[in-house]
Every structure is written in C-alpha cells, then in structure tokens.
Symmetry: C2
Subunit: 444 residues, 2 copies
C-alpha cells in the first residue's frame, strides 16, 4: 500500500479511506458531458484528507512531495469538467474547513478559500456589501472553487468575469515543494491561480472585492419570440442607469422543463430571466413597454427551501433539463459583441431543434455581449464536434465543456499571466491535479 | 411700471429689485462663447423673486400667469449657454431656498430642487451613498439646475448621462397656469423636465438614485503622446473590474494652463485625469505598467480651500484656460464609439493647433465612448461654424454650445419623451424661460 507511509506522516489530520465515500467525492458534474462521462467515470482518489487549517495543508503538501503522491483539491465539488477529479489517484484534499472570515472592510473581504459564497454574502450584507459575482451554484460552491475553476456568473453583466483586472484582489497559496512556501499573490499576480484547476498552488485564503448589496427582485418576462427576448435583454443591459445582476434569455421549449417555475412560463413563450435592483424596477418596466409580459416579480429569496431564480440560469439551465431528459448536453459559446443578434439568429437557423438557445448577457473585455450555454440534443461525439466546428466557422467561439484540461477548455478566456511558468516554480514535480495542465512537463 | 401689480400680488415673498444685482444674477457662463456673449450681454430680468417654499412658488406662478409676466428659474447660475438668462425680462426665480432633504433611503434621495449637489453628497455619505453623477460645478450648482440644464459628468463613465433610464427617479413640478397644478412625474415621465432649461415646469423636488460612496483617489498620469493617454484611458474604462468615476485625457499644451496643478503636469506631456476607487488603484497601476507616469495620487478632497481634481475636467478644463487666455472658446463633441481612436486622430490631424483636444470617457446608449470638450482658438463665427461642419462631416457629432435654444444645443442627446407636447399642457402661454424652446408657439 503506497499510502501507508503518507498517512503516517499526516499524524492526527483527519482522513477518509472508505472507498465508497472516496469514490463518490472524487466526482463532480462532468456527467453533463457524455464524452467526459465515458472518460472519467472510473477515476478516483485513494484517500480524502481534510486539513483543519493552513498549517495542516503545509504538512500535507510536504508529505505528498516527499512520497511523490498526487494531490487534487476539492471544495464544493460542483465543477463541470472533471476539474476536481483526480486522474492519477492519490490525495483528494477537502479544503472546506478553511472557511474563516479574516476581515470585512468597505468593499473588500478576506476569507478562507473553503468558505461558501452563500455564507460570504450573508456575512457581508449587514455592512451593505455582497460579492460582485457568483456562479449559479452559490448556495453550495466555495469561493476558492469559483476562483480556481469558474469564470463568472450572476453579476458579470456589471463587472465582467473573474479574469477582469480588479475582480480578484489577492490569493494566498501553499506551494507543492519539499519545503512548501506560502506565497501572497496580489492583483495581476493573483491571476496565476485563476481557473487553473488547482494546478498552480493550493489556495488557502482570498481577498475579493465587494459590490454594494442591493435588494434584488427576481423577474421573469415572457416573449412571443426568442429574438425579441434577446433584443429587449440587450436594451436593458445597455441601460446603464438600470441596476441589474442577471439577464438571461432562454428559448422555448426549455422553460417547459422548469418544474417549480412552470406557472410563470406560458406555453410556447421564450423567457428572459432577470435580477433587477428594486429601485430600478419601474424603469425596467417602462423600457419593456408592451414588448413582453412580466409573469413573475418577487424579491430574490435564497433561504433554505426556496429556489432563487438564478438557479434556473447559467449552468443550472441545462441541469433543469437534464433532470428529466438525459439525452441532452450543452456547449459554452462566446458571441461577437458587434454582431450579437445576427449571430444568434444564424445559429438558430442552422440548428433549429438540435441546439436550444440559452444566453447570458455579460461584459467581456469591457464590451456587452452574450455567453451562450445552449442545450444540445446529443447524438454522438462526432456530431458534437461538428456543431462546435460550425459555431467557430461562424465566429461564435466555443469554450469546449467536453474536455478536462485547462488549455482545451478555456480557449477564449485564458488569462494573460504565465500560469505554466508559475507552475514550474510552485509544483516542479507536477503533483497538483496531474493531467489537467496539458502543456506542463514535470522536471526530471 | 408693469411690475407693480405683480409685486403687490406677491405679498411678503422676498424680492430683489436693485438693478445692479438683478442684472448680475441674470447672467450665467454664456461668456465662454463669443457668439453668445454678443447676443446675451444686455439681457436682464426685471426683478428677482426668492420663494421660501413650494407654496410661495404656486403663488408666484399664478401671479405671473395672471399678469402675463415671463418667469425664468435660476439656481446656481452655472449654466453654459445662457440657459438661465431671461430673454424677455420679467421674473428671475431664485429657487435656492428649496434645499430641504425630504428623505434618504438605501440608494435613493428625495430633495428640494435648490439643494447644492455638494450638500447632497455630504448628507448621503454617512449612509454609504453618493450621487451617481455630478457636473464639475458640483460645489456650487444645484440638483435642479443639473437636471434642468446639464447632461452628465463625473460618474457618467459608469452610469451614462442623465437621460439614461433610471438616472432620474421622479420630479415634482409646479405648472405655469392660472391655477398652477403640482404634478409628480415618475421614471420615464420625469424625462419631460430633463435638460428643458426650465421651460416645462418649475421643479420643486427631485428623487434621484444614488451610487455606493467610494473612497476616491485623484490621479494624474502623464504620457508622451495624447493618443497614448486616450488608448490607456479606453483600456481602463473597459476594465469593468476597476471602479472609476472619471477618465479625462487632455492634450498638451492645455495642462500648461493648470495653475495649481502645474507640478503634476510635466512640460510637453499630455495627461489623463482620473478618479479611481481606492481599492482599484493597484489594478489601475498594473494596467498602466510603463505606458505612462503617475504624477499625482491623493484622496479627492472637496473641502473649502482645496481643489478636487475634477475641477480641471469637463467644462472646467476650458475655464482653466480662459482664466489666462480670453481668445479661446470650446465645442462639445460626441465620438462614434466604434471608431474612437481613429476619429480622435483624424480631428487632431485636421486641426493640430486650432482645436486642442480634451476628452471625457462616458457611457452613451450603453456604449463606451468619449465626449469631447476641445478648447478652440477662436477667430470668428464663420470659422467656428466651419469647424463644426467639418466635425459633423467626419461623423463627430456636435452639440453646439454657441446657441441658446434647447433644440439647437442638444442635437445628439434629446430625450425620447415629447417635451414640446408637455409644454403645451403645463405652460400654455409660453411664460417659462421664453425663447429657449424654439419650436414652441404659444396658444391664444
Ligand atoms: C449547476 C451548475 C451551475 C454552475 N454555474 C456556474 C456559473 O454560473 N459560473 C461558473 O463560473 N461556474 C459555474 N459552475 C461551475 C462551478 O459550480 C463553479 O465554478 C464553482 O464555483 C466551483 O466551486 P466548488 O467549490 O464547487 O469547486 P470544486 O468543484 O470543488 O473545484 C473546482 C476546481 O477548483 C479547484 N479548487 C477548489 N478549491 C481550491 C483551492 N482552495 N485551491 C486550489 N484549487 C482549488 C479544484 O481542484 C477544481 O479544479 C456551475 C456548475 C454546475 C454544476
Ligand atoms: C465650469 C463649468 C463646468 C461645468 N461642468 C458641467 C458638467 O460637467 N456637466 C454638465 O452637465 N454641466 C456642466 N456645466 C453646466 C452647469 O454647471 C451644470 O449643468 C449645473 O448643474 C447647473 O446647475 P445650476 O444650479 O447652476 O443651474 P442654473 O445655471 O441656475 O440653471 C440651469 C438651467 O436649469 C434651469 N433650472 C434651474 N433650476 C430649475 C428648477 N428648479 N426648475 C426648473 N428649471 C430650473 C434654469 O432655468 C436654466 O435653464 C458646467 C458649467 C461650468 C461653468
């Protein structure tokens, strides 16, 4: 058993060795992709190790390096592309105990990487702040998992994605060396761990900028035609005086899968899901006029037992469909900002029934555009690649969610900093989540 | 004396009849324009009336209608195009006593139209808010004057101008009828008094949306070349993660006129004036890299005796030059957002010494672009019109600051609502600031 000496090194740090539990927690939401489902289903760590604090992490990292055992960080486990699935076994590092809030200052928070985003917002709201953006998995995912694995989400219509300068203030990491170092990465340098799937250091704490907290209203608007929903969404997005956090046009028949929301989704209508600041609601309604019909208008409610509207958006839209139809999968597209409506229409014409449109308005490089997360009726891998090729040929860029490496999945949103060079500094033996940073070749 | 019966109607409402004072307060900053200076220098009201509250205003309006005496509202008197200059004499209504703050709620304020913007920000800041935008005259101008006469300013880089939906929540007005009505205009309807120069009602109170207050830092960056300042300004403006309130590129030699700021303006360098939220400063510096040199970095200080950096921007830039050189005037341009740098370069090439570039980054219809407020070496009215024509021919739109009517001055930023139709409802005899809404023909 190659693990015995390692476990001995770890002393009293809690571990889980029960193979059923270890196997189950070695998975994430890669099963969205039939392609990844085939490739990753049998992967598992050998043991879960659950550090209580940063000192534990330093000890674990040193032990793993000395025994040459791979280590993959797992937080909420809500990643989509097998990001937290260990390809080469070894240690699955459960960082969720590192959830301490170190401080909250006006507009900033410093917090343990394992803190849930929901808990962060609850803690900052009394002082009038909330996270600038969060994924639709906010109620289960951690801030460290978001920074290491995510891209953006609810709030990105105002602040852009995580890779925009200013959206991650600082990260503290433990390196994967014989004598692990603790490094504080600030501003630009913090991008070295952004969406690197935990291959460039174990994040222990993060400093994140905050936005003013708003009383948000969940709104559903129904439209006769999907393009009308997109067009109005764009008008609302471009109204800089209307404060919003979410604008997601979703084509019929996708809303027919929205169980609890069905009463707000009239038969045959495409919808726009929105989160609007309470005081901007009247202006939002004025702008809408008679272009569509508001079918829901209620304060965002994130309490247990409730379902905030954002859990029908971003990667949740596909999940709502997958709940009752396992024959679908999805894509991630970036539309060119200067020909948005034209390109959306082109894609609809090309794949009227096979690719069901779901868009998210975002700012990207300072421009308003849409990220597309269409639901795709799956036939086989070959056809899926053909659909991807046809999108690219029409200048709709694809970040392929059917691959598990950093490089292949992030074609349109790689950060500027040299993550590969940094990995050589902090993980020279390539033990952190091995196989995910494809271009890396370990020393010796 | 046609005023005697009117004055009798007014009872104990304070009036000023001293001709020197009345004459002086009948002026605004129209003298920026040599053209307007010729046209307006001899215009004056007959009397200043200073209502103490809304009830006084109702009484004054009724009296003016019954006696058919024109009424022009004056607040801070900082308008640029003779907006508050009475063309037909009559009453100059000094509304500065209506400065009560009715309430402050999270993200909103309701306040008397005569309140100074500086006082508003001072009152809201303890609860974490400030006005979304203000003109560079914030320390002397009123909120009513801004809404009735202004367009945007510091903050418009985030929220767009006043005409964007959501930037004026409500306005309360007194109509100019025999029996004056009090009307509450909400949301879209509030646009009926936006930049109408007080021709569509006397505003007594306003509800304005607020932005989260930030600890702002005044920054000056020096560049070898003006276009480098514009290019970097654009990059900073497009970085949605960097919180900012002002980005103004100003070409050399304009900074040579900036008296107290001279030590921050190296010989021969063009500058970018910026206001950056404290916590975004490091990211701003990282983005700048070695493209330019920061020569000033200090918290914005608006206390009496200090000069906040924004008093070198917007229409203040021209004023700084006019202080020592009365041979210049200015223009107001709107650049097309999709060819910004190209057009700026074209204008520079066309008028290398005659039109000295000063830009303000703003959002306009949701797009990032620049408003240009170049300093123009004046020869005569004909050449000025030729310069305007050449701008328009190159798709750089001009809002002519050398005309005094609503229609001629606001070509690119008219609001959607029907201000003319509304004027017929609230001022059927055309007594409010007569001559300013050119298209209006009075009933009778
Ligand atoms: C239904 C659904 C909706 C989603 N919506 C969105 C969305 O709107 N936007 C979006 O960006 N993503 C979205 N995702 C993806 C995912 O939920 C988010 O990125 C989430 O923030 C991941 O957080 P987590 O704590 O679950 O991370 P995990 O899944 O546990 O980890 C994600 C990655 O980060 C690494 N990691 C985690 N913690 C650390 C650490 N402390 N140090 C180093 N590496 C670490 C892991 O190794 C892994 O590679 C969605 C996924 C699902 C299933
Ligand atoms: C140096 C300088 C810099 C400037 N910078 C900017 C800038 O950055 N952005 C900008 O938009 N403008 C700018 N301006 C123009 C002007 O300062 C602003 O528009 C300012 O807000 C006007 O406010 P005020 O109280 O001085 O109004 P006034 O000049 O008194 O009045 C302006 C107009 O509004 C009308 N009015 C005033 N109050 C009322 C009321 N209660 N009811 C009905 N009508 C009313 C008046 O009749 C007049 O037509 C600048 C001017 C100068 C001289």
């Amino acid at each position: 058993d190659r693990l015995a000496p390692l476990l001995a090194d770890l002393g009293d740090i809690p571990v889980v060795t029960d193979p059923t539990i270890v196997r189950r927690r070695s998975r994430d939401f890669f099963w969205y992709s039939p392609v990844l489902n085939d490739q990753l289903s049998d992967k598992s760590a050998d043991v879960i190790v659950a550090p209580r604090d940063e000192a534990d992490i330093v000890r674990i990292a040193a032990a793993c390096v000395s025994r040459r055992v791979p280590l993959t960080v797992r937080a909420g486990g809500t990643g989509n592309y097998g990001q937290a699935v260990p390809l080469a076994g070894g240690v699955l590092l459960d960082v969720t105990a590192l959830d301490t809030i170190e401080w909250i200052r006006p507009g900033q928070i410093r917090v343990g990487a394992g803190a849930k985003m929901n808990a962060i917002d609850a803690a900052t709201r009394p002082s009038g702040y909330e996270l600038r953006m969060h994924p639709s998995t906010k109620r289960t995912a951690t801030i460290g998992g978001f920074v290491a694995g995510g891209s953006g989400g609810i709030g990105s219509i105002t602040y852009g994605g995580l890779r925009e300068p200013g959206n991650i203030l600082a990260a503290r990491i433990v390196t994967m060396e014989a004598e692990p170092r603790i490094i504080e990465l600030r501003d630009d340098a913090a991008q070295k761990i952004n969406r690197a799937y935990g291959t460039t250091g174990i994040i222990t704490a993060l400093e994140m900028p905050l936005a003013p907290a708003q009383p948000w209203i969940d709104v559903v608007v129904a439209f006769d035609d999907f393009l009308a929903a997109v067009e109005f969404g764009r008008a609302a997005a471009l109204s800089d005086g209307i404060v919003k956090k979410l604008l997601a046009p979703i084509t019929w028949p996708l809303p027919s899968y929205f169980g609890a929301l069905k009463s707000c989704c009239p038969e045959g209508k495409s919808i726009l899901i929105a989160m609007i600041a309470e005081r901007s609601l009247e202006d939002f309604r004025d702008l809408l006029g008679d272009r569509g019909t508001i079918t829901l208008e209620t304060p965002t409610d994130e309490r247990p037992g409730r379902v905030p509207l954002y859990e029908y958006t971003w990667n949740h839209t596909t999940l709502q469909v997958l709940k009752s139809d396992r024959t679908v999968t999805y894509l991630q597209c970036l539309y060119p900002h200067d020909r948005l409506l034209q390109k959306v229409e082109e894609m609809r014409t090309m794949f009227p029934d096979e690719v069901l449109q779901h868009l998210e308005f975002i700012r990207f490089n300072g421009q308003l555009t849409c990220s597309g997360l269409p639901v795709v009726r799956y036939s086989d891998a070959e056809r899926l690649n053909e659909i991807i090729r046809l999108h690219e040929a029409h200048e709709v860029h694809i970040a392929n969610p059917h691959v598990y490496t950093v490089e292949d999945g992030s074609r349109y949103k790689r950060v500027d900093v040299d993550q590969l060079g940094f990995k050589h500094e902090v993980d020279p033996h390539g033990l952190l989540n091995p196989g995910k940073m494809r271009s890396f070749v370990a020393e010796r």
